[in-house]
Symmetry: C2
Subunit: 469 residues, 2 copies
């Protein structure tokens, strides 16, 4: 006998949890499709040679390699050297790059795709860290160029998704890498590597405090003037309130830099300004976006707009949706220049965090909307017919296939989270009606047998409307 168990680092759900998770996936998909993004799915494994183009040591250490039994035997006998042929995807960006480069001549640009699949990382096992998790991504890929307007549309998508998910007030935080670069240049920190090192120190603000960071940056490792450090610390603390305040904050950076920021600063400021104006024109409420000049994200990857999204009342959860603008998606695979902008929602981790924080229950009402009870074997044919009509009327219905004590049937429905129990006893059938017990409202009513599906559909639609879904 083998003890049944999953490997560590995966999140496996019970059915009612899975339904709750699935509803979140459905909301995300619906909103991605609503904005015109097209579905793409890629294989779980890629050729290692294709997947591991970037010589990122950190990345490689976290990769899962895949070998068939035959390949494993060859490796053991020394017949093959080097890395295994296949590896599991560790994100959806590299597969997207490969996909767009491979199918470049069959796609229309700007190419807008969504992809919602699991990715794999050989993380150290620890609480809240997953080796398998869902990513829900959108990207818009241009050929040669891509309008800044898509950077704004992405914010509108984030807003639509999280408004419908209904997990509380949230705010998309915007920054721009060019603006940051220009700002550092205006202080004389022109080398990108040096900028990265400074930002790494600035990132320690929360943990070590301003005084520690100030001393490091003015100390022997960096040798920055005290005035420059003061301006850096002020810069990364910028958060905007209203839309007008955001525009003012951008002007202020420009004004303070004088002419010293050069082209990058002016371009970044102009991009940010356009994105803000378009986000508003797209109907996103002011409360749902702001500037946050501390956001840098993947320093060598993003080149323009960058996003993070926070729950207003739960900043400790960190960013629930991040991304940005990049210069060239697929330079390893094609000579075409493919700029893009995109975001990712790590839904497995988000679901886990929301549940841990008590922000979602983590279990849903059943996907089964009605259970047809069987009280007496003599009524089996009627019960089957009632269920058939419910399904034809668009109701998800389950039949109790064996007559057992009614109490146990109710217990089963309640435990399963099924809202309606349909009872068709001898008496009801003789009168052409069925009895319905609504376990949510705790009330019982009778309805003509022919009107059952319509009645339940109306009830369910009312509940949906009330829940704002």
């Amino acid at each position: 006998m083998i003890r049944p168990r999953t490997p560590p680092g995966v999140l496996e759900l019970l059915p009612r949890e899975q339904i709750a998770f699935q509803r979140m996936l459905d909301v995300i998909r619906r909103n991605y499709e609503r904005f015109g993004f097209l579905p793409v799915e890629t294989p779980v494994f890629e050729l290692s040679e294709v997947l591991l183009t970037k010589s990122g040591g950190e990345t490689e250490r976290q990769v899962y390699f895949v070998q068939s039994t035959g390949a494993l035997a060859n490796a053991a006998s020394g017949a093959s050297a080097g890395l295994p042929e296949l590896a599991l995807r560790f994100d959806l960006t590299v597969p997207l790059a490969r996909y767009v480069a491979e199918h470049e001549h069959e796609l229309s640009f700007p190419f807008r795709r969504y992809q919602m699949q699991r990715v794999y990382r050989g993380e150290r096992a620890q609480r809240g860290r997953f080796r398998e998790f869902y990513q829900c991504d959108i990207d818009v890929i241009g050929k040669d160029t891509l309008s800044i307007r898509y950077d704004a549309e992405v914010v509108a998508v984030i807003h639509a998704v999280f408004a419908e998910l209904g997990i509380g007030a949230f705010r998309v935080q915007l920054n721009n890498r060019k603006l940051m670069r220009g700002f550092f240049e205006s202080l004389g920190v022109a080398d990108p590597q040096q900028q990265a090192l400074v930002l790494r120190e600035v990132d320690k603000l929360d943990k070590r405090g301003a005084e520690y960071v100030r001393q490091t940056l003015t100390g022997p490792d960096f040798n920055l003037p005290a005035e420059a450090v003061a301006r850096i610390l002020a810069f990364v603390e910028v958060r905007s309130g209203s839309h007008a305040d955001a525009l003012a904050k951008i002007d202020q950076v420009l004004a303070e830099a004088g002419g010293a920021g050069g082209q990058a600063l002016r371009e970044g400021a102009e991009e940010l300004r356009q994105v803000l104006e378009l986000v508003r024109a797209m109907g996103v409420p002011e409360s749902a976006y702001c500037l946050n000049f501390s956001i840098a994200r993947g320093l060598d990857y993003y080149t323009g707009t960058v996003y993070e999204t926070q729950l207003v009342d739960h900043p400790e959860i960190g960013s629930i949706c991040s991304g940005g603008r990049y210069e060239d998606l697929a330079s390893h695979y094609t000579k075409s220049k493919l700029p893009g902008v995109g975001i990712s929602i790590g839904l497995t981790r988000l679901f886990w965090q929301l549940r841990e924080a008590g922000l979602i229950e983590g279990i849903a009402e059943s996907s089964v909307q009605a259970m047809v009870a069987l009280m007496d074997e003599a009524q089996l044919a009627d019960v089957l017919d009632i269920a058939r009509r419910l399904r034809a009327g668009g109701i998800n219905a389950e039949v109790q296939m064996e007559a057992r004590k009614l109490g146990r049937q109710f217990q089963y429905a309640a435990r399963a989270g099924i809202r309606f129990v349909v009872l068709a006893g001898e008496d009801e059938l003789a009168r052409g009606v069925v009895a319905v017990k609504d376990l949510l409202r705790e009330q019982q009513f009778e309805v003509p047998r022919d009107e059952l599906a319509d009645t339940l559909r109306v009830e369910l639609e009312q509940a949906r409307a009330l829940a704002g879904r």
Copy 2:
């Protein structure tokens, strides 16, 4: 520069193909849910020790093993021996067994689950063989016992799924392993292994012809009497026409066996009869099911009802949905007895076959229902507002973010399979209307700006109703 390509043996789709595939997945899921099945997803990898309990050499040779970079290094240095710790699932049945055994005390029985995920087999690469493919499974699992009635419900589910998929006339073919066993016993072939060998010869009927099989079975390897062989060949050719004919065919087997078939034959006949009667009671039309006594399927696994499903006009495609009743799901993981019944649709292969046979186009209309054109930069704000209202009205809408030649915008929409192009030029906006070009019906009309979403929704619903969806 690395050539972007997928590994062999996977089916990667372009967006409009992916939309067609996704619609099939959605139909299957909707019907599974309609019958009260609950969603389950399991991790792509399982512990090898847990996954490979059955000592099936053939199975093991097709397994893909998974190793992180660290584990790979250990293996290379000889620090670890034996199989890698993780392996990709090769079906959804073993993960289901592990899941049910692991969560036994948190599930309600009969436990009805659906699972639609990809599985992995290290198949030899050849046309139409996939190393990664979707399986769409349902199973009902009982604790200790499970009513035969679920065997009938499974047929009703198959019927609902394939009726809505709309890929042509189909027929669920039924048999029963007990009936087969009893039949062979009545001929003196009582040993299960011997029965399996006989069936393997019978399977060659199509290829080698009746005479070859007759000679083998009466020859030195089997030594069966000519009369027994004649009855075997007649038995496996039984197909029923109508419902009444199916019942008559069962009676005939019983009559011909006299008392010789024993309990297994009587039980099998009784089960088949009940399943047929219930399938009819569930409203499945007679044309959609029949008996086929040649169907055996997984000889050591299934113990009662077995199913295969064929397209009536394309039997060469083989079974498009198969399964059956089994005695004990999870005997490797738990002492509880867990009988079950289930089916599987191998959707990747089915999609590929249907497309090859020209039975589906394999590409769908876009999931994007309307494209809002941009004719002049001055109208950007209006265009964004029109798109926002379309989305709020439930229409999937894409905006052309940059003004380019109208011809190119139409070309883009046509190529992408988008039905409606919305035009809001200076003239239309001044009159409070928008122009809509319907690329499907090739007609153009004007509609008040405020009524756009409602109008398109009605058009789309009409199209859906006409298509019978």
